[in-house]
């Protein structure tokens, strides 16, 4: 196996969302596929005490040469995969830069601060515009909506993995990721493969 040179080394990917959405699942699938391709991968996750409902992020550092730390330095993200809109903006605020590529699922999950009335959830249309302005390129993917059409919001994970692969931002192709998906979702593999391919199709539209 010859491991391809990266467009940038290390390549820094952030996956962000709300606890319970499936951050860890996505980072595992992508991370495992990259290790099989011969890369050093370090994944830093925020999880632990009742992170369900809290903001979560996974930092993936991909390198041909070194084991990097599990933290991307401020301002140094190359790709942001946002499973939730304001969480995507939270990450751009700290880790974004003029070259960052962003994939955003525009389905809000309201925090108790918002439902409780102590905080305001911004206008979604304006929010997506701001994300676009702060990114060199943005893909808006209605992953939750598409997943619900397929029968469960949980298929959003496989859809979003598909969008990352389909967008070509990582040195990974369908052939490498499919076996990892089969190992990750042994029970519902057909539906998840369908969702994965849907993700690839959506990003190419």
């Amino acid at each position: 196996m010859t491991t391809k040179q990266l467009v940038k080394d290390p390549l820094n990917l952030i996956i962000t969302g709300v606890g319970g959405q499936g951050n860890v699942m996505i980072s595992l699938i992508i991370g495992n596929a990259l290790v099989r391709e011969g890369y050093f991968v370090t994944v830093g996750e925020t999880y632990g005490a009742s992170q369900r409902g809290g903001p979560v992020m996974s930092h993936l550092r991909i390198s041909k040469e070194n084991q990097y730390s599990p933290f991307i330095p401020d301002g140094r993200a190359d790709i942001i995969l946002g499973m939730e809109p304001v969480e995507t903006l939270r990450m751009l605020g700290r880790y974004g830069n003029p070259n960052v590529l962003t994939i955003i699922n525009p389905r809000p999950i309201y925090s108790i601060d918002v439902t409780g009335g102590q905080a305001e959830y911004p206008d979604l249309g304006k929010l997506v515009q701001t994300v676009k302005k702060l990114s060199a390129k943005t893909w808006v993917i209605n992953a939750t909506e598409e997943a619900q059409k397929m029968g469960s919001p949980m298929f959003a994970n496989a859809i979003l993995v598909g969008t990352v692969i389909g967008s070509g931002v990582l040195p990974l192709n369908k052939k490498v990721v499919e076996p990892v998906l089969r190992e990750t979702f042994p029970k519902e593999i057909e539906a998840n493969l369908l969702a994965f391919n849907k993700g690839i199709a959506l990003v190419k539209q």
Binding site: T42, G53, G93, R94, P98, G116, Q118, T130
Partner: protein, 645 residues
């Protein structure tokens, strides 16, 4: 979870640090592993338990960390390689045994203790460094700097432990334990393990067959000899290394995850030719000659380490003892204020420290972009406070507690404990809990409050505790309350799992770590046998739960027990579909016009209930709602409806 028993030497796997440690133990031919779950240490035993049967080893969730360590020592005494794993608080629980074990020495089986610290207390009640405990008790200490080392060091420690005859400690931190990275596998041993506890009364025997800390002064002397022997091994360890040119402007001395942060920082600043890094893997006893031989690299030293200044102090001690002709660099670190003396570190904090010492300026990104991105994030990103999951039984329990205390009217006090329910200190549990310290601590504190009647204290006292915490450390406090007639109600939140750390089984679940059915130790039978009044409630039945608590508070007369029984929603949700379809009847919900002041969304705070701003009415978020239906009982208008799904 990764497949740690894969028999594929030479291949590289993506492991979290805890899986790498478990794999290292398997490669060392471990026979016995025990722990009590605690973030960030839990996956060590869960991954070992998962493969235990196949690998011919034994793994258990012990009732608490003290028993886990003692059980592992028992295996070592009989010649089986054994491991115990715990978070920093667990080390406190097992401290007394450790202080005696170092004196008695171990058996023929190597014995390793893994201590996972949690800088910034991300999943902990406290921030605490366990490195000084190893130094204090004369336990040899190592710390892995990446995932490969986590595996390789664990394997190495079993050999060392047997050779030296003492317990070894591996300290890890959250960003190694819970981060993922590459680990190249070695062979798994293939051998059948048989054992017999030798009981020869031969005091001259090199290997003891009687394990005791006496005669203490002599044992203490032996222990120091073991530490000297360990130091020699550590001097030659491949886990200590220097990276950089012969002479540098700044020498970083670091260990653990900070080794990764330091490398990132030096690369980000492009200072590879000017800054060297001395990375230590063996921390105590300090490999003094190795350290001394690198102190002439620079006039300036920066210590990069998390929580306590462990290397900083140990190396300053060393330098103070060296001849005056030895190099005396200027030290920077926690003492000088260049590195935080609290909280976890990251590459940016190291970049800042290096820049500060060398007088450099560092820009992480385009300045104009930075200003705009920060401003937009600040003004447009709402807070996301921690809360109980949608459908969590704890929300219902604390709703009942809040209402019962209000109806009772005497200003009842709730003491808390360690678990998901610690969030009841905040809005998730309606600010009901007033104290939180250590496992079992809330019931202990309640014992004191419940005996203050003679000082005019008449407030009811409730101690909330999780089911796993009840078995871990609460039973002595309950016995004390019954024996000494202290007035409090022990409220056991029984969600049938050690939920916060990953749903591990406990003595009340009828299942072992290795998935074998076992006896259920019934908490209500146990408490009744002690003579306490015991009531069992379903917290989803708000009315019954509230009334039961009110009745118990009115009764007085010594410690009582209320069990709130309802399975963790995350466990239930994995096996079953939602029981109800919950909806808001938009005709009945009168929104702001209702006198309830948005009780459902503003106060009850279930993330499945949201506020439709346009309609001015409450709404169910169908992606989040788990269909528990509890909210249908709190709406004064009866506008929230449920029907069987």
């Amino acid at each position: 979870m990764a497949n740690i028993e894969i028999d594929a030497p030479g291949t590289t796997q993506l492991f979290i640090g805890n899986e790498a440690i478990a794999r290292g133990a398997l490669e060392a031919g471990i026979g016995f592993a025990a722990a009590y779950p605690g973030t960030p240490s839990s996956e060590i035993i869960s991954s070992l338990a998962q493969v235990a049967k196949e690998m011919g080893i034994y793994a258990e969730w012990s009732v608490n960390e003290k028993v886990a360590m003692e059980a592992a020592a028992g295996a070592s005494f009989a010649g089986i390689r054994a491991l115990a794993a715990m978070k920093q608080n667990g080390i406190n629980v097992v401290f007394d045994f450790l202080a005696n074990l170092v004196m008695s020495g171990i058996g023929k089986g190597g014995l390793v203790l893994v201590s996972c610290d949690d800088p910034s207390a991300i999943s902990s009640s406290n921030e605490q460094d366990t490195q000084p405990i190893a130094k204090w008790l004369d336990i040899p200490l190592v710390e892995p700097g990446d995932f490969q080392e986590a595996k390789d060091m664990t394997k190495w420690l079993f050999e060392l432990s047997e050779e030296i005859g003492t317990l070894f400690m591996l300290r890890s931190v959250t960003r190694i334990a819970h981060a993922r990275g590459n680990a190249k596998l070695d062979e798994l041993p293939k051998r059948e393990q048989r054992t017999y506890f030798d009981q020869i009364h031969d005091l001259k025997s090199v290997m003891p067959t009687t394990f005791m800390p006496i005669p203490s002064p002599l044992r203490h002397f032996f222990l120091h000899m073991k530490m000297d022997k360990t130091r020699e091994k550590f001097e030659a360890s491949r886990f200590n290394q220097y990276v950089g040119p012969e002479k540098v402007d700044l020498l970083i001395i670091t260990c653990g995850s900070c080794w990764l942060y330091s490398q990132d920082a030096v690369k980000a600043l492009k200072l590879e030719a000017k800054v060297g890094i001395l990375k230590l893997g063996t921390l105590w006893p300090l490999p003094e000659k190795f350290v001394e031989s690198h102190l002439n690299k620079s006039q300036k030293v920066l210590f990069v380490e998390e929580i306590d200044p462990f290397l900083e102090r140990s190396i300053m001690e060393l330098v103070a003892s060296l001849p005056s002709t030895s190099p005396r660099p200027t030290f920077h670190g926690k003492r000088s204020g260049h590195i935080n003396a609290y909280g976890e570190l990251n590459p940016d904090l190291v970049i800042k420290a290096i820049s500060n010492i060398l007088g450099l300026t560092y820009q992480s990104r385009d300045a104009e972009y930075s200003g705009e991105a920060e401003a937009v994030a600040k003004s447009h990103v709402p807070e996301r406070s921690m809360t109980f999951c949608a459908g969590c039984p704890h929300r219902a329990t604390f709703w009942a507690i809040k209402n019962a205390l209000k109806l009772d009217g005497r200003g009842g006090v709730v003491t808390g404990d360690i678990g998901c329910y610690s969030m009841a200190l905040g809005p998730a549990g309606f600010f009901q809990v007033r104290t939180m310290h250590c496992m079992g601590g809330g019931a202990g504190v309640a014992n004191g409050l419940g005996k203050l009647g003679q000082f005019g204290f008449n407030q009811p006292v409730l101690a909330v505790v999780g089911d796993s915490t009840f078995y871990h450390a609460t039973i002595p406090a309950l016995i004390n309350g019954i024996y000494n007639q202290s007035d409090f109600i022990l409220v056991i939140l029984d969600n049938s799992a050690t939920a916060m750390t990953g749903f591990q089984p406990h003595p009340g679940t009828g299942m072992t770590a290795m998935g074998k059915p076992t006896k259920v130790i019934s908490m209500e039978a146990l408490c009744r046998s002690l003579g306490a009044r015991v009531e069992v409630c379903d917290p989803f039945n708000l009315k019954h739960t509230t009334n039961t608590l009110l009745d118990m508070m009115a009764e007085g007369g010594g410690a009582k027990v209320a069990v709130m029984r309802r399975q963790c929603e995350l466990v239930r949700g994995k096996k079953e579909k939602p029981p109800y379809k919950v909806q808001v009847d938009t005709e009945k919900c009168i929104g702001e016009a209702c006198g309830c002041d948005r009780l459902c969304t503003r106060v009850f705070l279930c993330p499945g209930l949201i506020w439709d701003k346009k309609a001015g009415k409450s709404k169910i978020d169908e992606v989040i709602c788990t269909g528990c239906g509890v909210c249908t009982d709190i709406c004064p208008q009866g506008a929230i409806t449920k029907e069987a799904a």
